[in-house]
């Protein structure tokens, strides 16, 4: 028995090493290879190129400034939603979190539709002598990335704020602190680690993001590391792959270092642990002030999220790009093109297949791994968790390169859809492991023991006890994987071949080739597709959760809507 277990563990470790670690190892090896031997020549060559220095500079500036932007807005709205007696909090939260489920390239495209050179907004700005705003610039990239990352800061901050016990504030008030002083001296200080953690997440996300700089930076020839790697990788040349690898290693080192700092900060902070979040208001405004704050908040996010999306929708019905809206210019021709074009249909099928497969496999492996991690012991699971975190922490473009180097050695994978599946699994598995672990933590081992005592076998226990209890939470945590892989662009931009293009890559190609109106129409379809998928999972959750199965935790929390639940899972997944 013991020997067999050892064998299983060894096999598991070997599989994890082969699937997760060897690709990264090959990437590092590639970055060191030059001519026939090994050395640091590639790195030296990179630093001689002024474009490299510019790319690094741009990356750092973009990441820092847009992180500041997302932190400021994310923290502000987290405070508003957690403490103030606002109404319409759900609407506000939904608007704040919208960029979380809408892919960043759709947000980028929607903003480019608002800020076209001759668009309405620029016309107005020109009249006001504020000049046309060009989104294809450093500032544009910073702005769009800033919007995209608000949810990361918001989510990490808002729950911490809710968990700060009200008594901590009251004690300060009794000690002579005013309301605002208390907010700064007590709440902000207590929440600082979470805010810092959220900002580091946002910073990493900026480093990782490929689509925004690809859409806005490549046309304006503003290189950042991720697009620079992409250009090198798809470019030709004797050592373009080696140079791309060397750049990748540089970028990964920064990203992983960032992750480690975050973990270090999170571990160091002195937090009062495991307190139930308090959803009631702490700061009371009178009715006029309350209304004003509500509407300002909602307007800000309507302007940031919804207006660009609506503008993009309107633009998607235009025949000719860049003209004023007029009935003569309206048509369905962009949509007709999308629905009849075989390439588009193919891409949608590919992405659906990819995301469903990824979800299914992730749920199976992730839940099994979570079970092993909590109930059993074994080196394989710990190794898997470590490696899966690593492949999630490194930027997507880097992982894509590593996947090429690794899977091209195995016949029949590179160039087919399997390399995409492999890449998606490597990328997203950690999300499911975390989600399933969180779900399983709510099930006390005694429930299983009770099932054993009652005479159920292992299969029966899974069927009757664990599956019903885990179903809802597991499914809602796989929502993030589903949406991410459905709209994924970074990995597929490098790994997809002619027949295996994905939705994201197809949109990218339309935008690159100047078919802006078709890109708008496709983006509208993507948003609809996401909302549909989101709704479907919500429905699935409600169906399963509404009837009778309630995990102990959910009983205590009462009537939380499944929407909140899904967001909570998401948050658990990213942390």
């Amino acid at each position: 028995m013991k020997k067999r277990n050892l064998l299983y563990q060894a096999l598991g470790c070997a599989a994890v090493v082969f699937l997760f670690l060897v690709p990264l190892f090959r990437l590092v090896l590639m970055s060191l290879s030059q001519g026939g031997g090994y050395g640091f020549g590639n790195y030296a060559a990179l630093f001689e190129d002024s474009r490299t220095i510019r790319a690094i500079g741009n990356t750092v500036v973009i990441a820092l400034v847009s992180t500041l932007l997302s932190t400021a807005l994310g923290v502000l709205f987290a405070f508003l939603n957690a403490y103030w007696n606002l109404k319409r909090k759900k609407l506000l939260e939904l608007l704040v979190l919208a960029p979380f489920i809408i892919p960043s390239y759709v947000i980028t495209i929607s903003w480019t539709s608002v800020l076209t050179g001759s668009g309405e907004l620029n016309r107005v700005l020109r009249l006001l002598h504020l000049g046309p705003v060009n989104l294809y610039s450093l500032g544009g990239i910073i702005f769009v990335l800033g919007i995209c990352n608000i949810p990361l800061v918001y989510l990490t901050t808002v729950n911490t704020l809710r968990k700060i016990p009200r008594e901590l504030e009251w004690a300060a008030r009794a000690a002579g602190c005013g309301r605002w002083e208390t907010l700064f001296r007590i709440d902000l200080v207590q929440a600082a680690p979470a805010i810092l953690g959220g900002s580091v997440l946002a910073f990493l996300s900026c480093m990782d993001n490929f689509s925004v700089p690809a859409f806005l930076g490549i046309p304006a020839s503003i290189p950042v590391l991720s697009t620079y790697i992409y250009e090198k990788a798809i470019g030709f040349g004797p050592d373009s792959f080696s140079l791309a690898s060397a750049l990748s290693v540089l970028l990964s080192v920064v990203a992983v270092a960032g992750s480690l700092t975050m973990t270090a900060f999170a571990g160091k902070s002195r937090q009062t642990d495991s307190i139930r979040p308090d959803f009631s208001a702490r700061i009371f405004l009178n009715q006029t002030a309350r209304r004003r704050v509500e509407w300002i908040g909602i307007t800000v996010f309507l302007l940031l999220d919804l207006v660009p999306l609506l503008n993009m929708t309107a633009a998607s019905f235009q025949k000719i790009y860049g003209q004023r809206f007029s009935p003569a210019n309206l048509s369905f021709q962009n949509y007709r093109f999308l629905f009849t074009n075989s390439g588009v249909l193919n891409a949608v099928c590919n992405s659906l297949f990819l995301s469903l497969t990824t979800c299914a496999v992730c749920i199976l492996i992730g839940t099994a791994a979570a079970y092993q991690k909590l109930r059993g012991k074994g080196a394989a699971v710990r190794l898997l968790e470590f490696c899966a975190s690593l492949t999630y922490a490194i930027p997507g473009i880097v992982l894509a390169l590593a996947m090429i180097f690794h899977w091209s050695k195995i016949p029949g994978v590179y160039g087919s859809i399997w390399i995409l599946i492999a890449a998606y699994l490597t990328r997203y598995l950690i999300l499911q492991i975390k989600g399933s672990t969180a779900a399983m933590l709510c099930i006390h081992p005694s429930l299983e023991e009770a099932a054993h005592v009652a005479g159920g076998g292992k299969i029966r226990m899974w069927k009757k006890i664990l599956t019903p209890l885990l179903f809802r939470q597991t499914l809602s945590s796989s929502l993030l994987i589903f949406v991410s892989s459905l709209t994924e662009m970074t990995l597929s931009s490098i790994l997809a071949s002619a027949g295996t293009k994905t939705i994201g890559l197809t949109v990218f190609n339309f935008q690159q080739s100047g078919d802006y109106n078709i890109a708008y129409a496709f983006s509208v379809l993507i948003v609809i597709l996401i909302l549909f998928g989101y709704g479907l999972i919500q429905y699935g959750c409600r169906e399963s959760g509404g009837k009778k199965e309630r995990s102990p935790e959910h009983d205590a929390e009462g009537t939380r809507s499944s929407h909140k639940d899904a967001l909570k899972r998401m948050e658990e997944s990213i942390l």
């Binding site: 016990p165 008594e167 901590l168 009251w170 004690a171 000690a175 005013g178 007590i186 200080v189 937090q271």
Partner: protein
Amino acid sequence: MSLRITHLSKLYGKNIALSDVSIEIGDGEFLCILGPSGCGKTTLLRLAGGFETPSSGSILLNDTLYSSPEQCLPVERRNLGMVFQSFALWPNMTVRQHAEFPLLRKKYARMDAAEKNRLIDQALESVGLSTLSDRYPDELSGGQKQRVALARAIITRPKILLMDEPLSALDAELKISMRKEIQDIHRMTGATILYVTHDQNEALAMADRMMIMKNGRVEQIGTPEEIYLHPRTAFTAAFVGKYNLLRGIWDHDRFYEESSNACFHDRTTCSELKEQNLFPVRPDQFRIVKQGDGIEGKITNRQYCGREIHYSVDCSGRPVTVYAPVREDYDLNDTVVLIKKEETD
């Protein structure tokens, strides 16, 4: 100087948390607000602290308006200290920083550092934490945490100390010893203390006056002796003194128990309970005998407690609790008679 609460009510939506509470609390008085959970005692404390606004009524300190539905003096300007059941220590500050925190306010900007240090040392000394001044809250035990909270609350010598079940999170042994410390602090500071608790022993032991609450209303206000010996409502009798409430008919000082033909003499029962045809008898006021002129019953439970034995006696379907000395030893299902001890006074 006094804290005057007049016709104070608090509604949460349609829920009545507090209904028409009035009391005048003297300078330096130790008032215990006692009641089961959900009786409104914490709401009353929060209103007194200014953390909530009343729905009607008012709170005045001397002639200064503290709280009314229209106007509420902010907490920080009320000159009070507060201690919480959950300790409410800031996890990022040391013991010394907690005590120092109230002195960092603008009000104390002109106090020189040496004086501040002296005050901090004194406060930490008085709660016995001088040696732990550099510890963080997660390095302290429950009792030590509550002492930090006490030091923080008394450092500015506030006129009013609010205590919200400060001992409820501590274990039984520690509770008893902390009672003494709180009494010491009361004597030392001379502050008016509003002390909320659900533990009647705590209230009886420490209070100058007690206020018994139920469902948002005041049941009875009085000294511990009055409350314990002369309860005016059935609830106070049962909650504080663990009285058995016998039903029957009063005829002046005579009480005829309804299920037996027992007759008791009593001159101390208040008229309110008499009108309800109730006769309160504490478990220690009964004697159990084999035969006699009293209420017949059957022993249904017996708990040996060392100094005494607690019996549950079933008297015609009504349970009666009796505390009897250990020498009066009866077995389960024994048929017995309960008679009332003669008052010694």
